[in-house]
Amino acid sequence: MLSYTVRRLFSAIFVILGVLTLVFFSMHLAPGDPIDMLLPPGVGGRASGELIEQLRARHGLDQPLHTQYLRYVGNALQFDLGQSIRTDRPVTAEVLRLYPATIELTLAALLVAALVGVPLGVLAAVHKNSLIDNLTTTVALLGVSLPHFLLGLLLMLVFALELGWLPPSGRGEPFTLDGLRHLIMPAATLGVATSAIVARLVRSTMLDVLKEDFVRSARAKGLAPRLVVIRHALRNALLPIVTVLGLEFGVLLSGAVIAESIFAWPGLGRYLILAINGKDFPAVQGAVVFIAGMFVLVNLAVDLLYAALDPRVQYN
């Protein structure tokens, strides 16, 4: 287990280095001079040569590419993601200020996915090939195919603009009623597609488990069907379900970009889009690296947890 953990840690570090490299070179090998990206929008043609040289020196763009690269990676590994052009504040500070909102939204979406997906999947498996199963499968298919941004706007149209039940945008104080009211629509927008994925997985896993001998034994000894399903079958199907929920957390983290920009949720995703529209490239780099880094770490944690929980997992 220890050598497996160490190996996975090393591979995660390697992947994060790769992410930094890819982000750096995609920014530097893109068409156009990176200095144009550093100039505030609208200044492009009017900037004097002196100003451009100053900026070049300040951001180290006068150095050879490999020097720039090493400095960038070195700084990033010390959590220095550069200076935002739009706000002139350190990107790391901004990212750290905003990420709790994104985590809150992602966790809430995961909760929606689990609360909707698991019961639906169990119902479909228990009543295989029945009306309930068909209905669940159809709803799951519709859920996977409905784009986040469309669902978000439709929810906003109905529950905020027409009915006025929920606030259309922004974030409230966490763990208060106001916070919850702000959270419902973004979390539902983000979580529905995942709940469809979870429902499908729960259904197929439960179908496998329900065929097992121990389930038949539990039935044979006269246990109530509901207890057989919940206590025996679902508990044994839980491991793959928890794993997928863990992996989906990472996916939701990046999917939050859309939900955040629809509902003006002040998180990393919205920051990223604002940075792109403001041509604030240090901020874009920083946000992308941070989100991808979290994604890698969450996946690493899920892998290690899975290996620790299931003794059958091969460490090689």
């Binding site: 995609s26 149209l157 874009v284 991808a292």
Partner: protein
């Protein structure tokens, strides 16, 4: 033939094929089917609800939504096909080379793929679209890039399992060269999973392209792109919610159809089912 009848046995296959056919017809014959010029503004007819003259109503500039949705199909189909082709060919090539030649080359290529996989779905597309700028080509490249890792992985695992089969060894013993082995034996035998993934990807490629435009980093107005149309429409949602319905339904049905086809194809090619 047996695969085809198995495919058609799925009750949803035919409706899904019909939707895809409609999408293609809309894309190819948009100029003939459109009732109005897609970008012609008419300030005497702004935000009209659906009526006899404008079947899906008009938008905030008085443009005919039905005609714009038809032209939008062109863009979506183009992005979908080209992105899947570009991502697919690149991924397949990487997977074939990595799986067939193994050792160091495999290790290096797979680490690169690991890095690409570390970018969750849309994030890589957003990054590339932001770097490359707005427009059709950047969107195609951005969407293709995120599909490369999955294609490469599918192809590589197929290659690894096929390579160990006896008939490949037999072919090699008969004097077949690398290229012939790869194309004739390895590639053709790995075709099923690749086709399934490509079909599923068509839907998600169209969806990602629309999402990029919705976020303002893809194809920008006034081009009649579905995501961009919805993005503009959200500013007028209270007065004229109908502006969203046309492009929204178009995206939803397209993605749904490709998801159904992908699932049906998977059932056909997956020996377990």
């Amino acid at each position: 033939m047996r695969s085809l009848s198995k495919l058609l046995r799925n009750r949803l296959t035919i409706p899904a094929l019909l939707i895809v056919a409609l999408l293609l017809v809309a894309a190819i014959f948009a100029p003939q089917l459109a009732t109005h010029e897609p970008n012609r503004q008419n300030f005497l007819a702004i935000m009209q609800p659906p009526n006899a003259q404008h079947w899906l109503g008009t938008d905030e500039l008085g443009r005919d939504i039905y005609s714009r949705v038809l032209y939008g199909a062109r863009i979506s189909v183009t992005v979908g096909i080209l992105a899947v082709l570009l991502g697919g060919l690149t991924g397949i090539l990487v997977g074939l080379v990595a799986g067939f030649y193994g050792r160091t080359l495999d290790a290096v290529l797979m680490r690169v793929i690991d890095v690409l996989l570390a970018f969750p779905g849309i994030l890589l597309a957003i990054l590339l679209a932001a770097v490359l700028g707005a427009g059709l080509v950047p969107v195609i490249i951005a969407v293709a890039a995120y599909s490369v890792p999955s294609f490469a992985r599918i192809m590589r695992s197929s290659v690894l399992s096929v390579r160990a089969q006896e008939y490949v060894e037999a072919a090699r013993a008969c004097g077949a060269g690398d290229l012939r082995l790869i194309v004739r034996h390895v590639f053709l035998n790995s075709f099923g999973p690749v086709l399934v993934y490509a079909t599923l990807l068509m839907g998600s490629a169209i969806l990602t392209a629309a999402a990029l435009s919705f976020l303002g980093v893809g194809i920008s107005p006034p081009t009649p792109e579905w995501g961009a149309m919805i993005s503009t429409a959200r500013n007028y949602m209270r007065q004229a919610p109908h502006i969203i319905y046309g492009p929204g339904a178009a995206i939803f049905l397209t993605v749904l159809a490709f998801n159904i086809l992908g699932d049906a194809l998977r059932d056909v090619f997956d020996p377990k089912s």
